[in-house]
């Protein structure tokens, strides 16, 4: 897939494009990560967070869209 930067995606898709932009960036760049937060002293810490290729934290919905692409390496 072609790398689509967030800036480009915004230009193409306009409002509501963050999920698409993040997903595109992830698939295209393979830089997106999906990781657990650091170990916490209890069970109440942030359990899992999703980040886009630049490290911005994403919503779970956005992250779930990224995850299959990451896992398949598409």
């Amino acid at each position: 897939m072609t790398l689509i930067s967030r800036r480009t995606a915004l230009g193409i898709a306009g409002a509501g494009a963050i999920v698409a932009a993040a997903g595109a960036a992830a698939v295209g760049s393979r830089e997106c990560t999906w990781r657990a937060a650091p170990a916490s002293p209890g069970a109440n810490d942030v359990a899992v967070d999703f980040v886009d290729r630049d490290g911005w934290m994403l919503t779970p919905a956005e992250g779930e869209k990224l995850s299959p692409a990451r896992q398949t390496g598409a």
Binding site: L10, P38, G42, D45, W56, M57
Partner: protein, 462 residues
């Protein structure tokens, strides 16, 4: 007035070692209740005696680091102060994640913070201002403004005949005690201009306060005695231990916030305050967080993520860079010790070992992540964590904390809640060296507040 030759020691109610924010605030407060005070200052009125600040650092704060924040002239380190004033919160004084409790409740400090704010030329209401931010987080701006330079502000006051005398160019190098170590009996000082040592006798009614900075206080109270006995003031054995800084992480992260959350920013802000956000007590307890202020800077709508969020929501967003001002866990292995090397007056050179703990780094990352998760849950913003700025580029704020810590237990603390050295009746310590934990707050406001509180204690006994 500035004393230039011999003086009559018996005329004084209190001797103070150091003329920085702690020592000078204390001296002037005592003068207001008609107590006679003599302040020893190593430096001159205008010129520092920098060669006396001779510590060597190891760990995250190495080499000459601590000397850059140990200023030896009238007014002490206020000459270098950046002017930031903020109060500690309840949880900064008693946080289970830190494991150290201050023996003073926050409410007991409030009147002294208010008085200290006026000395530091700040609005008392502003130094304690806070407002709810997002759930779980509190907006606590830090007033900055022009820094108060004590040597300048009070010079005319000190030059006039009044209750405060200042012995410039004199350093206290030794303390002596009675056999039971219940009160100090004499002190020895050097006169740098004349190149001589002199001693003076202390009567039990006369108080002595060491207010020579976090490094200087430890250096004096660690000096070995010729007879091999425990150094005067270190009967607890913990002088020098629990050295702390406030680690600073420039650009530890960035965030975009919905403009609605911007309403707490003072409308009249003209770069005279730092906009900081901290986790509240409940979130701190829930996540095991301790001091970490997220200073949000360079507000701008002109950022990709801000534009995205604005476009997605139809509501305006701003972008901010975040610098984190954090707390270090107090650790006995972070400490000031003396080296065998001595200066010409016989004072051993201090060595400072200070390492930021893995938990301290993780505390900053975790605070940012919890903040980001909160904003996502609310749909009001996003956070980006800058890993390398946290874990590879830590700096410091020039705060030397904890080396003569305060506590109720004489076996684990140097001074009690009145800043009196445990076991003594006329021996006190002032300054940030008494902080049992650091919180995230800049210390000068609390240094002055504790000095004003100490003035009342000393006035009662004199």
């Amino acid at each position: 007035m500035f004393v230039t030759d011999r003086f009559d020691p018996a005329a004084y109610d209190c001797f103070i070692v150091g003329s920085g924010p702690a020592g000078m605030s204390l001296a002037l407060a005592l003068a207001r209740v008609r107590k006679r005070v003599l302040v020893f200052e190593s430096g001159d009125a205008d010129q520092p005696r920098s060669e006396l600040s001779n510590s060597i650092g190891y760990g995250h704060y190495s080499g000459e680091y601590w000397n850059g924040h140990w200023f030896r002239a009238l007014g002490g380190t206020s000459a270098l102060w950046a002017g930031w004033c903020v109060t500690h919160r309840d949880i900064d004084l008693d946080n289970p994640a830190v494991g150290t409790r201050w023996p003073i409740a926050r409410a007991a400090l409030v009147p002294y913070w208010n008085a200290a704010a006026e000395i530091l030329d700040r609005d008392p209401e502003y130094v304690a201002f806070e407002a709810p931010f997002a759930p779980g987080f509190v907006y606590r701006p830090v007033p900055t403004g022009p820094a108060t330079r004590f040597g300048t502000k009070y010079r005319a006051t000190l030059e006039a005949p009044a209750g405060v005398d200042v012995a410039l160019g004199r350093s206290v190098v030794a303390l002596e005690t009675n056999g039971r170590r219940s009160h100090l009996t004499s002190l020895t000082y050097v006169d740098h201009l004349l190149g001589i040592r002199r001693s003076l006798t202390l009567a039990p009614r006369q108080s002595l306060v060491v207010a020579a900075g976090g490094m200087g206080n430890a250096q004096l109270l660690l000096q070995p005695r010729a007879d091999g006995a425990v150094p005067v003031g270190n009967e607890s054995g913990v002088v020098g231990q629990f050295l702390m800084e406030h680690p600073e992480f420039y650009l530890a992260g960035e965030c975009v916030l919905e403009a609605e959350l911007d309403k707490f920013w003072p409308a009249a802000n003209k770069s005279t305050g730092m906009h900081t956000i901290v986790a509240d007590r409940a979130v701190s307890i829930e996540h095991g967080l301790y001091g970490c202020a997220l200073q949000c800077m360079k507000k701008s709508p002109d950022h990709d993520m801000a534009r995205f969020m604005t476009a997605q929501s139809g509501r305006p967003y701003f972008h901010y860079e975040i610098t984190a001002h954090a707390e270090m866990l107090p650790s006995p292995s972070n400490r000031v010790v003396l080296t065998p090397e001595r200066d010409r007056w016989g004072l051993h050179r201090p060595s400072a070992h200070c390492t930021i703990d893995a938990k301290d780094f993780q505390n900053v990352e975790r605070t940012l992540r919890v903040f980001g998760a909160t904003l996502i849950r609310l749909g009001q913003g996003r956070v980006r964590v800058n890993n390398d700025r946290i874990y590879r580029q830590a700096a410091g704020e020039g705060h030397t904390l904890g080396t003569t810590r305060m506590g109720d237990d004489p076996s684990s603390a140097v001074v009690d809640s009145d800043c009196r050295v445990h076991g003594y009746d006329n021996f006190f310590v002032a300054g940030s060296s008494v902080f049992p934990s650091g919180g995230y707050a800049n210390p000068t406001l609390t240094i002055v507040a504790l000095a004003l509180r100490l003035a009342e204690t000393i006035a009662r006994r004199a």
